[in-house]
Amino acid sequence: MSAGLQPRTGSAARFWRSTDARRLFGCVVGALVVAVMTGPSGSASAPTSGFTGSLFRPRAFVFVALGLALWAVMTFRSRFGDVVRRANDRIIATPRQLLVNRWYRYIFYLAVFAFAIWYPTILSGYWQEVLVDQIGVFVLLALGLNVVVGYAGLLDLGYIAFYAIGAYSAAYWTGALPIHPPMHLNPFWAIPLAVLAAMLAGVVLGSPTLRLRGDYLAIVTLGFGEIIQIVATNLTGVTGGSQGVIGIPHFSLHVDSLKYVWHVKALPYYYLLLVFVVIALAAFRSLERSRVGRCWAAIREDEVAAEASGINVLKYKVMAFSIGASTSGFAGILTASKIGFIEPGDFTVQLSILILVLVVFGGMGSLIGAAMGAAVLQWLPQFLRVHPLFGFQPQDLFIYLGALLVVMMIFRPAGIVPSRRRRSEIGLAEHGVGTADAMSAAGGPVA
């Protein structure tokens, strides 16, 4: 609204109606919320103790000051934004221009790869474990979910169900489950079978529900993620029930005289994972640039137009969904074989949401974004937990992740490392051109 239309009032009243004031309010309230999030816990008998312990202490002033500082930064940026943006562009643009050159790019990739090979060898045992169990596996999972959420624009909230299917299939084919397979296999040979099982589950669940509105898919997958856990707990005769399954063998290789067994040690698994992550990166990159990837982009941008241009929308949605499912199943086998033990409690809906956060934070539709988002967000809580300064409690993790999802959607929906196409799609959709997701609804656009 232009200033001329507003009634003439005092400058104080005008300030309180301005964007600056609303932003100030938001920053201070946000800082107080963060103060509560990071503050002490309460209990049912003393429900206010957590709040009073967070807000009626000197630390509250620190948070208010931080909120004010944030406000100042945001306000100044809107005043002097051009200067900042130009400086920012200059910093970002130089490496970008270098990477346009193919040879520089290959050298860059090689350097990153060499670093990824060398760096873990100097880490402590604890961090090597973290690198495999918490980071490597989750990078793979995030890459898979990126196909579903980022490329196809679908919302899959039961992603971990396929991870469970992969893990339990691996347990079945290696003979660890109460029911026995026709023949016991090395986990390596179980990989194709377990991936196939996860993919089939994806097709079976996806093909009926992908015909419906996108948000129905979200809730069906959410339910499916919960059900898988209940089934795994209750079908004791098949899955071993809530006790879980023990004795899933490690990967091993026997080729003539060459014999190698992956033991509980983290580093060999890390290199195995690294190989698979690189394969996944290369495969998804070429998929994104192939005919299939262009079909996904078309579906995201305008489903009706895509359908009218002869794209079989359902087929490509099912394809994305089952590619995601099989990647998840694949990660499941790796985990099952590394740890050697699985139980239904490993496959919670929370974990599906966690992977969604990794993808959303890094950047939907951006491979580098999804991988980096996963690495950073999985590393950070571990770091904060062991670091004496922060004393982060792991059970509070999802308070932060939930808040992060909301904040990302409000301020940076395309993620920290956005895919350029995805970002422009979101921008266009906000101006009423196209949709930027595959959620076609019967009800028309959102008000």
């Binding site: 919302l155 009926p208 069906v220 209940i230 993790l397 909301v406 979101i426 959709a429 906000e430 008000a447």
Partner: protein, 308 residues
Amino acid sequence: MCFTQNFWNLFISGIANGLVYALIALGYTLVYGVLQLINFAHSEVFMSGGFASYFILNALIGSSQPHGLASVGFVVLGIVAGATGGGIVAFLLERVAYRPLRRRNAPRLAFLISAIGASYFMYNLAGKEFGRDAVSIPSPFTNGTVFTVFGAQVQTYYIVIAVATLVMLVLLDRVVAGTRLGKGIRAVAQDAQTASLMGVNIDRVISQTFVLGGLLGGAAGFLFGLNAGVVYTMGFTPSLKAFTAAVLGGIGNIRGAVLGGLVLGVAENLGIACTQSSWRDVIAFGILVLVLLIRPTGILGERLGRSA
């Protein structure tokens, strides 16, 4: 059949569960009517209603045993507390997680993600602030068998749920059919753009719709918590079922939500008679998938764009 011996017992407790599902389902359906979006954070609205009523009743009743008129008073107080808690949370939720996105005309995916984020934020924060163990609401009345129908015992708790829910349903029907707000909700559900041209303040209507759904969901949190206790994760399963109920009856359709809730409550109760109670959630989910496969518009049909 496997459920012959206690068919009526299961039927009646199914109706009671179904009424609670219906109250939650109304929140989904109202919001779906105006926004065409699943409010993934509605489960936390429900949860906050449970906590609000627990705090009030725990402070007032403590370990005493109210009876007579005091019982009725405490039940009403519990419902009001739950509804208030739910309403406030729903209002804040719309302000923080929905309105900024709506202002920007963000893609639908963004709304769903932001709602899921809000849901995880709220329930885990509740776990941190109010403890992670389940607590039980001190009962405002002495539960017992009031009368029997076909050999089935009808408990006081069921009667409380039935009366409370029916009163709220009648009130909701009056609000939607007969007030200015109801007219606004119906107008926005039909065609938001035209409604705004006609002078309806869409922002206000959407906000009030969230609050209306939140009042019902919060009250449901109290009614559910009376029996099952209150815990920070209590929202997930009942809400998934309530959403199933809303789809079963026809999303966007108020009478459908009530019918869907009743059908779902009875169906899952009769279903567990044939299997085990641990399969209860699986049955409800199976019903959701079946409905989406066979009749995605629900029993009474969707009423998007016609009337809320």
